[in-house]
């Protein structure tokens, strides 16, 4: 199970980096989203993989580590807000530029 998870995380990061390096805002956003999914999975796995175990200390030895689950929850919430922000930003830039290229030449030297 650990090998499969590692493979999935690696694949997600690989696809994310490829998309991030493209010069269109939409692909860049998708790339960021994929990498943040991979990050969340990695963070979750930091508490060791366990199935069918309650994340509660004190119920007896077989329990899942609750802390990474709390960390992932925080990271998901922050990541969601960031994604929403970047999507709105990209839409606004698309409307103003008339193009969604990241390397477009904006006006130089505004005040």
């Amino acid at each position: 199970m650990a090998a499969l998870l590692a493979l999935v995380i690696g694949l997600l990061v690989g696809c994310g980096v490829y998309l991030l390096l493209r010069a269109r805002t939409f692909s860049v956003i998708l790339g960021i989203v994929l990498i943040s999914y991979a990050t969340n999975l990695f963070l979750f796995a930091a508490g060791r993989l366990a199935t069918n175990q309650a994340p509660l200390v004190g119920e007896g030895p077989p329990y899942a580590d609750p802390l990474p689950q709390a960390l992932v929850l925080t990271a998901i919430v922050i990541g969601f807000a960031m994604t929403a922000f970047v999507a709105v930003l990209a839409l606004r830039a698309r409307g103003e530029f008339g193009s969604d290229r990241v390397d477009g030449k904006p006006r130089e030297d505004g005040p």
Binding site: I32, L43, A93, R107
Partner: protein, 483 residues
């Protein structure tokens, strides 16, 4: 003292909320903003006093004791940086009250500035690795807001570049935090310091390398600084000074905290690599600055260059090196922010940030020329200004350790820094203005002069009387890595 320890977060955050509520009444908003920053400054002074008396403010939240609950701990290092943060906030808010910045005032500008200060304060106060990540995110979202509220095309473009590269750094930081937790089972600094001693060196190198790399992206070190000169020049001047002074320095502080304190002594390979990265950062930054003619771009590249010096102090892996790092950071924040503010005054008076299109200010405003020279020569490291002592401390330690190559690079970069500063001075003040029709505009600039004069006074005070700050920095360094 649990009330005071959360003040670096609580005071700016409360001010941000209050100024948001007063968004429709600019007068009240301004008053609230000044009251908030004054309270922040008072709390920061109290925190320094506590830390200097060896009673660092400390608290753990959520009803859990320290290694499990999130802990705030403000030692000497954190306290002095919180104080400088409050000082920078004051300077840029005072500067905002002048009409040196002519753009329309967005009602969310002041709340976002205070939100940014809360993020910076939280990062300096926390003693928990995941909590540090959260404060980086608070800073990032407020910084993005400040980039985007102008709404100009170049600003939107800069926001996107800043966001894409910084978000990548944040995600790497999150991965590294997860890895640290996976191998040690802790996130609290004190507990990590204990647990890291049992780590096998290979694993420690790998995990810490990821963590340091994430912090270096945030600090703008070579080769990961592309986001900084690509975006900073689109900001309004007072906000730019705040960014230039504080944001990259939080990344540097995080490197100091991890390599110099929590995980010290870390595997030697990391310090060696950091030293070469620092040398490359210095050199590339200063060469980038030499190429440009826009004052904001020149100064932005000098941020990168100076980050190299500060990182060099950490790479020296000694108590003296850490003390020099802290001294340099405090000096650099004040000087860098001041240079950006003075550049904004130049822009207001002469009409452009492009050095080829301005000039002739020395004949009309000779004292402004002198004012500019104080932070400029301090940045270069001319005695008796603060930068001289900062560089002396770092180079003295580098020579004592026999690091000839790093010392030579640092000295060479000083000379090139002088070239950039002389370029600004010659083109902006000495050479005649290219437009013969140009006249000095009328503007209410006294708050801008008050802010820049105040910061220049701090530079002069550190320069003429370096012993108090030096003693403080040495005392701070003696507690770093002691566990």
């Amino acid at each position: 003292m649990s009330a005071l320890v959360i003040s670096p977060v609580l005071v700016p955050l409360a001010t941000a909320v209050l100024t948001t509520l007063a968004g429709r009444r600019p007068g009240i908003q301004q008053v609230l903003s000044f009251a908030g920053i004054a309270a922040f400054l008072a709390c920061a002074l109290a925190l320094v006093a506590l830390a200097a008396a060896d009673r660092p403010a400390e608290a753990a939240f959520g009803g859990w004791a320290a290694p499990f609950g999130i802990q705030f701990l403000i030692d000497r290092t954190g306290a002095v940086l919180v104080l400088v943060t409050a000082l920078m906030g004051t300077a840029s808010l005072v500067f905002l009250a002048s009409d040196a910045d002519t753009g329309p005032r967005h009602p969310l500008l002041l709340p976002l500035v205070h939100g940014l200060l809360a993020g910076v304060g939280g990062a300096f106060a926390t003693a928990d690795l995941f909590n540090l990540y959260v404060w980086f995110e608070v800073m990032l979202i407020c910084a993005l807001g400040l980039f985007a509220i102008g709404g100009r095309l170049d600003q939107l473009d800069a926001t996107f570049k800043y966001l894409a590269l910084n978000l990548l750094g944040t995600l790497l930081l999150l991965i590294a935090v997860g890895a640290v937790y996976a191998v040690t089972g802790h996130l609290n600094f004190g507990a990590l310091a204990q647990a890291s001693e049992a780590l096998p060196p290979g694993l420690a190198t790998l995990v810490l390398a990821a963590l340091i790399l994430a912090f270096l992206i945030k600090a703008g070190a070579f080769p990961l600084f592309a986001w900084l000169p690509a975006s900073y020049h689109t900001l309004p001047a007072p906000v730019l000074a705040l960014f230039a002074g504080l944001l990259t320095k939080v990344g540097v502080y995080a490197v100091l905290r991890t390599l110099g304190d929590v995980f010290a002594p870390a595997p030697e390979l990391l310090y060696e690599a950091l030293g070469w990265i620092a040398a490359a950062t210095m050199l590339v930054g200063v060469l980038g600055a030499a190429y440009h003619w826009d004052m904001r771009r020149i100064l932005a590249f000098h941020i990168v260059s100076q980050i190299g010096y500060i990182l060099l102090g950490v790479a020296l892996m000694s108590e003296a090196g850490n003390a020099a790092t802290l001294f340099y950071t405090v000096h650099h924040i004040v000087v860098k922010a001041n240079l950006f503010l003075i550049a904004a005054i130049l822009w207001r008076l002469a009409g452009s940030y492009d050095l080829r299109q301005i000039g002739g200010l020395y004949a009309l405003r000779p004292w402004l020329g002198v004012l500019f020279l104080i932070p400029a020569l301090s940045l270069v490291g001319v005695p008796p200004l603060s930068g001289f002592w900062a560089k002396l401390l770092i180079l003295e330690e580098a020579i004592a350790q026999g690091r000839v190559a790093w010392t030579v690079v640092a000295l060479l970069v000083s000379v090139l820094t002088l070239y950039s500063m002389v370029k600004i001075w010659m083109e902006g003040f000495w050479s005649p203005h290219p437009d013969p029709q140009w006249r000095l505009p009328r503007a209410r600039l006294w708050p801008a002069y008050a802010a820049t004069l105040g910061l220049a006074a701090v530079t002069l005070w550190i320069g003429l009387n370096p012993q108090p700050l030096l003693t403080y920095a040495q005392a701070a360094a003696s507690t770093l890595g002691a566990h």
